[in-house]
């Protein structure tokens, strides 16, 4: 049943199911991106992306410049790592990231002349990003620069971008979709970036589009961000880029749902967007690509939003990667007394953590600090099979069945009900009237099924 059509696109601007959580973006969407000064030290884990860890290529005691490569992504699905500050490499220690990864990290102490971060940010939001001279860049050069700059998806998953844009004979890319939905509640970094640095995004999009030789480039924004739409429309004038304004709905920003909404296509289960001729990337990534290709600076800084009622002054800030979260939080006035949970990322899919010394990584899109009032603390009650999770699941699954199968160690039922299709968006847990940790159970169910499959 197609109720209406998204203007100018084959999709409806919508997908089946999904939820409407309060977005709480008002906390930080009016605060302009602020720039943090160069910190005393940064900690750079060797695996900040999906894939193979990069190889450490500096020794303790060595001095590094700004932007110098310190970790080489040698494997295809890997990304290089660059120093965001000039300084001295300290010992290699271990760090536990909010997502649970426990890995070695390089610590660099600031030393010597620093490039002021404000300069980097000003460069980014300046209006003089080229739109017309894109054709001077050779597609393969763009791909190579993306690879060398260590650019990964900044939306959260941190998938190495060069993998997506490397030309592939078997899977031609028709459409490049730029994801500016930012459907996670609280987060506003993409919104601010779209508002303040629309030109950089457009430049990056054009470059990437050229790299993948896309016939069409679409920037997708939810309809609760009219200002961003306005800025982007201005910035895309006289270019091939189209802008799709989508229904505000969680998880509109998930790639499968977004492709369904805009193009009406469904990615086959276990497939990638490229299976339907689509490449997708985040707006932040596009800005970084533009910076990497045109200004030849690697991915060393990113915009994050620090929000939630547990933060004294919610802000959007431009930070060097590797800065400790503690420093970021202190920059935002620290946490309030009734703060209960600190989350890397948004409240739906982010990871809560307790170790504030953990660094901001390439994939950290924000820090959300929730108070006791915002989180649900209610005790779990039995599932009454009301089917609300079924109505909420954007993947058309039966979450309660998956969760119970996981709880009662029944991998056969779990796989029979397609547990592998779940991408843990959290809709089911959000709507569950029995307050069951459905997503967590499904997550454990996946490990269970994996163990069962290779018995």
């Amino acid at each position: 049943m197609r109720l209406f059509k998204l203007k100018g696109f084959p999709g409806t601007g919508n997908f089946r199911h999904g939820i409407h959580p309060p977005d709480n973006k008002a906390l930080s969407d009016e605060s302009k991106v602020e720039v943090m000064e160069t910190p005393e030290a940064v900690t750079l884990p060797l695996l900040q992306h999906l894939g193979v860890p990069c190889k450490q290529i500096v020794k303790p005691g060595q001095t590094v410049r700004y932007g110098e490569m310190i970790g080489a992504g040698e494997a295809f699905v890997s990304a290089s790592l660059h120093s965001p500050i000039a300084g001295k490499v300290k010992r290699v220690n271990v760090v536990t990231l909010p997502n649970g990864r426990h890995l070695p990290a390089i610590t660099i102490h600031a030393d010597g002349d620093q490039i002021p971060p404000q300069k980097l940010w000003d460069e980014m939001r300046s209006k003089d990003w080229p739109r017309d001279c894109i054709s001077i860049y050779d597609p393969l050069t763009i791909v190579k620069i993306i690879h060398d700059s260590g650019i990964v998806g900044l939306g959260g998953a941190a998938f190495p971008t060069h993998v997506k844009v490397t030309p592939n004979d078997t899977r031609m890319i028709d459409t490049l979709m730029i994801n500016g939905c930012e459907c996670e509640p609280y987060l506003t970094c993409d919104y601010r970036l779209m508002k303040e640095a629309a030109r950089a995004i457009v430049a990056g999009a054009l470059l990437t589009g050229r790299a993948v030789s896309a016939k069409e480039i679409v920037i997708c924004v939810e309809d609760n961000k009219p200002d961003a739409v306005k800025k982007l429309t201005e910035a895309t004038e006289q270019t091939v880029i189209k802008i799709a304004v989508l229904k505000t709905k969680y998880p509109q920003g998930s790639e499968k749902q977004l492709i369904k909404s805009v193009l009406g296509l469904e990615i086959p289960l276990g497939g990638l967007p490229s299976d339907v001729g689509v490449a997708m990337s985040n707006v932040g990534t596009m800005a970084t690509v533009a910076r990497g290709v045109i200004k030849e600076t690697p991915l060393t800084h990113r915009v994050i939003s620090v929000s939630g009622r547990g933060i004294n002054t919610p802000k959007n800030i431009f930070v060097p990667i590797g800065i400790s979260i503690e420093a970021v939080i202190n920059f935002c006035g620290g946490i309030t007394k009734n703060a209960a949970r600190i989350i890397a990322g948004g409240p739906m899919m982010g990871f809560s953590f307790s170790d504030l010394s953990a660094p901001v990584t390439k994939g950290t899109s924000g820090i959300t600090v929730l108070t006791h009032d915002e989180i649900s603390d209610e005790k779990e009650t039995p599932c009454i099979r009301c089917g609300r999770c079924v109505d909420a699941c954007p993947m058309n699954l039966v979450p309660t069945r998956l969760a119970l199968a996981a709880r009662y160690n029944n991998p056969s039922i779990a796989s029979q009900y397609h547990i592998h299709a779940c991408f843990e968006c959290g809709c089911c847990s959000y709507v569950c009237p029995a307050k069951i940790n459905l997503v967590q159970l499904i997550r454990t169910g996946k490990t269970l099924v994996a163990a069962w499959a290779n018995r």
Binding site: T96, P98, S352, F353, S354, D377, Q440, L441, T447
Partner: protein, 272 residues
């Protein structure tokens, strides 16, 4: 008339019996399927608890493997030696040396020894908590939610002060606990003696990082390996070479245990 009835009744039955038994006999030969009777007799001896401790899908799978693939007969940890001897009798092979296999938990930190633990709200199960960062500082140690306890069919593992502890009186070495442990800190090892030494730690971080999260962590100080060569240090972690351990080097092992600065060498097993 009575006689005739008797006669006809007997006759009917006879005719029927002849026909049916002929058909069945014929079918028995015609449709004979060769089944190795050994499999069935081996299966009869195996305990039939299908625990999977032998590494096969269940007792019947192991029975097939014994008969067809000449797999060693001493893999059943539940049935133990008597079982292996009987199976060996059927197969006509030698029983390998049966060292009882038992589970060992490679973590020795009680809840109080763990630093940087954070209150955790979620499913109270190890495999769920394992996927959440910071439930406890140490990313290697026992989570203490008892997935292993639930998996044990022999009531042989319990959570004591937040730590999984094997009850060697009951443990049969089926390996169910080691399979479910998300942190893989439970391993199965042969116990040549009733009590053997073990290093109760799995933390492979450097001493400084390990110490930051646990008071009982192995700091790889080499104190143990200097005294006794059954302890080998790899990846910042001391490990006991169980095969090398015997009654002869018992004294050395005891000394190592006393020397260990973080008390993470333990003697475990069935107390005499």
């Amino acid at each position: 008339m009575i006689l005739v009835t008797l006669f006809i009744a007997a006759g009917t039955m006879l005719v029927m019996a002849v026909i049916l038994s002929y058909i069945l006999g014929w079918a028995n030969k015609k449709f004979k399927v060769e089944v190795d009777s050994k499999i069935e007799s081996v299966l009869e001896i195996l305990p039939g608890v299908n625990c999977g401790g032998c590494g096969y899908l269940g007792c019947s799978d192991y029975a097939v493997a014994i008969v067809t693939d000449n797999v060693p007969v001493n893999k059943c940890t539940v049935g133990g030696e008597p079982c292996a001897v009987s199976v060996a009798g059927i197969m006509g092979v030698e029983v390998g040396e049966m060292i009882p296999i038992r589970a060992i938990v490679h973590c020795g930190a009680n809840a109080n020894d763990r630093l940087q633990s954070t209150p955790y709200r979620g499913e109270k199960r190890c495999n769920a908590a394992h996927l959440v960062a910071g439930v406890q500082g140490c990313t290697f140690g026992c989570l203490g939610f008892g997935d292993c306890v639930r998996s044990c069919n022999y009531d042989a593992i319990h959570i004591v002060a937040g730590l999984a502890v094997v009850d060697y009186k009951h443990c049969v070495g089926c390996g169910a606990c080691s399979k479910v442990c998300p942190r893989k800190i439970i391993s199965l090892k042969g116990f040549p003696e009733e009590m053997i030494p073990t290093v109760a730690c799995s933390n492979r971080d450097k001493a400084k990082d390990a110490k930051a999260v646990c008071t009982k962590a192995c700091v790889a100080c080499k104190a143990c390996s200097k005294i006794s060569d059954i302890f080998i240090i790899t990846d910042n972690l001391s490990a006991c070479d169980y095969d090398a351990y015997s009654a002869q080097n018992h004294e050395d092992a005891l000394k190592s245990m006393e020397k260990c600065p973080t008390n993470c060498i333990h003697f475990i097993g069935k107390p005499k």
